[in-house]
Symmetry: C2
Subunit: 337 residues, 2 copies
């Protein structure tokens, strides 16, 4: 038996049951869980609604003697949000989705989006559904970026050049120059990494978290590694380097901070030792003298200590378009701000 | 029939064939393709070699009457490179790998690495093998980062806190302030994006490619969008903003460039129009006046034009540890460089 039917999708969901030669549609409220021997494999949240009729191609070859619940091949348009660039963003939610159904729905959706003239199609697949990844790839999607809990794939539909934005390319790190009134600089020895066991005293350093401001990250890292409270003063310089982590690049900001406390409590997990060290003693270390980059930084820090250097200070601004607050780092002194 | 055997892996590869009750090992040169009805599912490149004996558990239940080639369940330790942090990096190569074999090999490998006290285990899966992703996830791996052609997964084995480095968190953008001797600034109207059709004239902007220096990216974008050659002068300021692209943050560097040519050829694909515009006319646009961030930038550019502002200039340095060349951006004027 092969049956084809077409209905308009509405906020409530239908399920097909067949009994011998009769075909009926069951209606149920999506707020109440739907139970069959095989769970209904999709919900409102994942499929488009209201905008158009949806073809339900239901092909069943069943014995005519027993009652069977059949939901075999339901091709529907995946629900997505339009983005600002003529594209669609599809976020798979947290319910299980049958891979075969996903594959056929994706195929149908792509046809539909092509007809609509859509450009970049994004699909966010949670890690729980990593079995769906290969099906998206088969339909022409490629990896865009990933975070611990999800993978974002994208498919550029037009025949024109792909203008999709690049993935994040840089990690942001900070090094903290914290100098007190006794001309002592706050330095640490690390338990791990390339300086372990070298006896080298270095500035506290760390990685800026996603969503964290550079000025906040510097204060946080100093506190975490040494227990010292501090106030952000300025970005003195920054270095860009490449292939620092797999293929990724790195921006390392040298920040000056003013200490607000002096007691040191080294971080148990990462820091072997921490201390206030005479600035000249820090600079005299062979490790600093040997490396061009560190010599530059020491030169800048020395000038800054004498009030003869100006870096970039954070000024809070509103990004006009999104109304989000963000920091603009600039030479405040030159602007008389 | 169940047979177990153990041999030491060597640069040449063995394959098992069975004929009735006899078991024999075929030796073949890996440089010559190996052909059976079912291709031999792994090669030297992907499995560890030389360091230890490898258990080959071969279980076959076959008819005793016909000759059969059997390579059913071969659990081997995946080959990896040790990293600097007590971890292992496994890169799957470009030959097909049976998912079930991958799953069992991965399981065996994890046991082995645990015994060895390994910490972070990285697996790089090319997009062609996206069917392997779910098997890595089942063994406890999570997504670390992805690029168009591969997905990097990682698994932290120790019971101590996960100290694996974060994924890249930022995209880097540039805006180019290109002003000529007639006090005209180079501006464009974009074909796509939020300014399309607004009539707004803006600085050329663009995204810094992975592995590209900020100063090079600014020169490249100006050339691409307008056809104008230019020389990088300084970073005047930069803005950090968050959640600018999914969860990712953004660093936008305002760069000053000196034009080396004047003829304009707008980029066909992205630029609606480009021109040299009187600086005062650019600043007077409501779009600039309305937005705090753009007003700040215009203020800085105005000061810079008058020689009353100093930003950061790139100075080439050697990063001491890796001997890589990289740019340090600093206030050159203050250092008398």
């Amino acid at each position: 038996m092969t049956s084809y039917m077409r209905f308009l999708y509405r906020p409530s969901v239908f399920c097909l049951t067949t009994s011998r030669k009769t075909v009926s549609l069951l209606h149920f409220d999506k707020k109440r869980p739907f139970s069959t021997s095989k769970p209904f494999p999709f919900t409102k949240g994942r499929f488009s609604k209201g905008r158009f009729g949806i073809s339900l191609n239901i092909r069943s070859s069943m014995s005519s003697s027993t009652e069977k619940k059949v939901v075999q091949q339901v091709e529907r348009i995946l629900e997505g949000t339009n983005d600002d660039h003529g594209g669609v963003i599809v976020e798979l939610t947290s319910e299980p989705l049958d891979p075969a159904l996903f594959a056929s729905s994706l195929k149908a959706s792509l046809s539909h989006w092509r007809e609509e003239g859509k450009r970049g199609i994004w699909i966010k697949i949670p890690i729980e559904f990593s079995n769906l990844v290969e099906h998206a790839v088969k339909e022409g999607f490629y990896f865009h970026h990933a975070e611990p809990k999800y993978l974002m794939l994208v498919h550029w539909l037009p025949s024109t050049a792909n203008t999709l934005p690049a993935n994040a390319t840089h990690r942001i790190g900070i090094g903290a120059f914290v100098v007190n009134e006794k001309n002592e600089v706050l330095v640490v020895q690390e338990k791990n990494g390339k300086f372990r066991g070298t006896g080298v005293w270095k500035f506290p350093t760390g990685v800026v978290d996603e969503g964290e401001d550079i000025c906040d990250a510097a204060v946080r890292e100093v506190k975490e590694e040494t227990g010292v409270d501090s106030k952000f003063v300025e970005i003195l310089a920054f270095r860009q380097s490449h292939k620092s982590f797999f293929e990724k690049s790195d921006l390392f900001f040298v920040c000056m901070l003013q200490p607000l406390s002096s007691d040191i409590q080294p971080q148990e997990s990462e820091i072997e030792a921490a201390q206030w060290m005479a600035y000249e003693e820090y600079v005299a270390q062979p490790f600093v003298q040997k490396h061009e980059l560190l010599k530059y930084i020491a030169h800048i820090c020395g000038k800054k200590k004498e009030g003869e250097y100006t870096g970039f200070s954070p000024v809070p601004t509103i990004t006009g378009f999104s109304e989000k607050k963000s920091f603009l780092y600039l030479n405040k002194q030159a602007l008389d701000l």
